[in-house]
Subunit: 252 residues, 3 copies
């Protein structure tokens, strides 16, 4: 029996996650459920795509990843099921699957809405039953008709070159106030000097211990992105910036 992971924007305070778990345990007896997150900002497909892209490939082959970040429920966006990279995916066609669309094993199908589905809660009535069917061994192609459009993709902001400078931006802020940027070592060579808000952070450090407590540093995070942090502190608070904030790199 494969795992099913859950990624939603439901928070922890309401009954929606509890109802979905019940449906999954009832329709896929013995399944193991693993939370990717329920704390995606409401309706933020980009944040969901970022988290899914970081985590899905760490799970065993065959895992079913169920995503319910779905501001478009009731608007006619398709409900998708497909296999990619040896894993299975179920959720809305709104860009949350961007990180795996280049790895498709099967063409996505559009899951039809059951007649008794609540029009506002496809997570429980459409997606969870489909995820349970996949976990029980059904192929994605058995869940609906092939999607006749191209799945929605989200594009990340690309770093911009301006003379001897490259300008990136913050795409995520973590629990510690570390700023995760859209820059990688492709854009930031060892001699590049990182700057934020007129402040010089410096060249890339290898670890937090390369600077003193309370000092700023830039380094390559565990996801491969350049991150900016304050050792024993919060870069987000220190610099007063968040998602969308500019990060400049002087290349010479």
């Amino acid at each position: 029996m494969p795992l099913i992971t859950l990624l939603t924007d439901f928070g922890t305070a309401d009954p929606y996650v509890a109802e979905m778990r019940g449906v999954l345990y009832t329709r896929a007896p013995g399944v193991t459920l693993s939370d990717l997150s329920h704390s995606i900002p409401p309706g933020n497909a980009r944040a969901a795509a970022y988290l899914l892209g970081r985590a899905w490939h760490r799970y065993p082959a065959g895992t079913v990843h169920l995503v319910v970040v779905d501001p478009g429920v009731g608007t006619g966006r398709a409900a998708l099921a497909f296999s990619a990279g040896g894993h299975r995916f179920v959720g809305p066609d709104n860009g949350v699957f961007t990180p795996v669309l280049d790895l498709l094993d099967t063409m996505p199908v559009a899951i039809p809405e059951p007649p008794d589905a609540a029009p506002t809660f496809h997570g429980r009535d459409v997606f969870a039953p489909a995820a349970a069917s996949l976990a029980m061994g059904l192929g994605p192609d058995r869940l609906g008709e092939p999607l006749i459009t191209v799945p929605v993709r989200l594009t990340n902001p690309e770093p911009v070159y301006q003379g001897k400078t490259v300008v990136g931006e913050v795409i995520s802020v973590d629990q510690f106030g570390n700023l995760i940027t859209n820059l990688t070592t492709n854009e930031v060579p060892p001699y590049g000097i990182v700057e934020v808000e007129e402040l010089e952070v410096g060249a890339l450090s290898r670890t937090f211990s390369d600077v003193q407590s309370g000092h700023l540093l830039a380094y390559v995070g565990s996801g491969g992105q350049v991150e900016i942090a304050v050792r024993d502190g919060s870069a987000a608070r220190r610099l007063g910036i968040g998602v969308g904030g500019r990060v400049r790199v002087r290349l010479g």
Copy 2:
């Protein structure tokens, strides 16, 4: 081995949930635990009853539902175990089980307090051991003597008719700021016009896409209640109301 669900007001920051999980895994080896929620407002039996009522029947028959929302610990309220609707339930006799008391399969028993129970943490020392025993196959009647009183019931505020108007109220607010009311389609016919705080929300919509982004709508939520929302926004913030807030429906 059946599932055990957990519903508490412990939050996530403290050791209580962790200790209870340890007791359950130790006394019911191989059991699967599923969180209903740990974010019930402290001591709020009504909020716990609402969530339990939404979720319990989604789980497989035989599931053990363990509820520890228990402001009365140490006050002599009984500790209950019983079977209802083909599921098993363990928790305090304070109204949290209201949604299932009409479905009793067995008469509730009062679980005696073990001599070494901490007087302030029956969740770990009374309820969790009882839930583990049920999961291991013991009948509720083996856990104590029949309850000699009638189990406590909470009554929801009932909608009130005033001429050609019916007045309900908000009974829950979800993660998205949607207002869940005590009204259903029994009180709100298709021609009823919903009003909140002198604002006309309008007749019931089928989905969020029936209105434009930023607009108010009323609709039948996934739990069967009339809910009030702002598309792509928070009705709670927009209207400045929460649990207990009045909702009027003009019937002609």
Copy 3:
């Protein structure tokens, strides 16, 4: 297959916990994961040690406890694996294991850093693979070389005697605003009178029902510590104190 528990300071909003769970499920197929907490204040080894000390012994013998509260990642602190009290433990050598260091079954080993480990995320790349290996049956001694130093211990503040008074302090505040102190019945006899901030709380009560709603009380909590609470309220808010706050006991 034993359980693996997780104790981190990652919160719930970011991909780190999700990535670690994926690594554990991939390397220990069929394992059951149980969250101790992910809400430890960032880098607070003392809070992690307190929670681990409360919870570990409630789990079945053989459980693997994985702790990733690790402000020192990249600073050369050792990565530990060992057996104590019949359980197994993996995490940084920063004091988080203080509660079990007197119960060692095996000498701690220092886990070497794999060459491809992200320098900032040992949780995923060092600790989780080690925990999975233990769950799969490998002995701690197979994971590294014996630690050549003494494991780091944290010391709790000790109560101080001043004439006929003993002064303790608040070491934790729970979800309900109850204040957990470093005092036990060793320091607080039945005739001792507890005082906080010039207010007399009184002698130890047995349960919340010993006082009226809204009143302060002191009692022995489920962890054996003296705690201070307000019945149906928050002592932290009422008294305006938190961790480190002084608690005096008059002994005559």
